[in-house]
Symmetry: none
Subunit: 202 residues, 2 copies
């Protein structure tokens, strides 16, 4: 019952715990380790059982990063980013879009000037300006006109650079392009698990 006072401490076995932040640091770390392994194992099983591809990135509170991936963390992330990106391979031709883009930009600018009456003085290489608010973290849907315009300015500069670079490379035609991936710089601890997937701990 409630009082098993002094004499002995029989193993009480697993007990129900509330799902809230564990404050006792030591306890938290133990739980983190155990549950992280459990999570990765579950993911591994899911991969095997169902032919899934899974990546898990896990930062501990202390900032350590652990990752799981099958077939690899990076490939899954890459697939995620590319796949979610709304690539429409059907109708993508560069030039018309860029022409439209520039035209829209001019229209926007004209509209803005008509409204406000004066230029806001944004220059072409807008970077970031607000400390407490990053405008690029909003989706376009949430952008106001001015935000949109700034966004376009940035985009235009970017497009220009990409364009220049592409042209340059096409002219030089191969040879000087190096795609060397960045080399590993930190020691990585990669331990194999019994099953599918890679477990990383950095």
């Amino acid at each position: 019952m409630a009082s098993m006072s002094k004499t002995k401490k029989p193993s009480q076995g697993r007990r129900k715990i509330e799902i809230k932040k564990i404050e006792v640091k030591n306890h938290q770390q133990v739980t983190f380790s155990k549950r992280r392994v459990g999570l990765f194992n579950k993911a591994s099983e899911l991969c095997v059982l169902c032919g899934a591809e899974i990546a898990i990135i896990c930062f501990s509170q202390a900032g350590k990063v652990f990752s799981f991936g099958h077939p690899s963390t990076d490939s899954v992330i890459e697939r995620y980013i590319n796949g979610g990106l709304y690539l429409d391979p059907v109708n993508n031709d560069n030039n018309p879009l860029f022409i439209q883009f520039k035209q829209k930009f001019r229209e926007l600018e004209a509209l803005k000037q008509a409204e406000i009456g004066k230029a806001k003085g944004s220059s072409g290489q807008q970077v970031n300006d607000c400390d407490n608010h990053f405008w690029w973290d909003e989706s376009i849907e949430d952008m106001g006109l001015q935000d949109l315009e700034q966004f376009m300015v940035s985009l235009e500069g970017l497009v220009k650079n990409v364009d220049l670079k592409a042209e340059e490379m096409i002219l030089e035609n191969s040879s000087s392009l190096q795609l060397s991936g960045v080399g590993p710089s930190g020691g990585q601890d990669c331990f194999p698990c019994g099953s599918v997937g890679e477990f990383h701990l950095c």
Copy 2:
């Protein structure tokens, strides 16, 4: 009212299964669903209990993508990429191109989220070009032709959206533009979980 009369089917309870690919498709899908939810819940608990930040990306065999993230899938991925990859801190931080590039990445991420919610009708998107590097982490200067191409394609998607939004705003004459439910998409399959983290299903 559960009539627990005579012909009760003695559910044999949970049964042990071998961890190997489930061939029966129907069975596999059921298992996938259950275990995926279980996995996400475990991750959620781990976040709460231990103050962890976790992202999970999960592709079903059919190519559907599901994701979990706390505080958000993308923020964790970004943190992973930035932390795990070796941005040359020497000059890149002051390189306008690089800064723009990083901005671009964030914008794309934000956009992607918007698109995931909106463009629900078109499903099959796949891009199968997986190298071992992250194209978005290189500055434009270091990009190869193929990277530039990929970058352009992404840019086009972005431009297209900016374009649409701009048009929309111009048409509405910027008087009372409040976005609201701009998307003509149908029901969303994003279900809130009881606990921390976002669950996405596309």
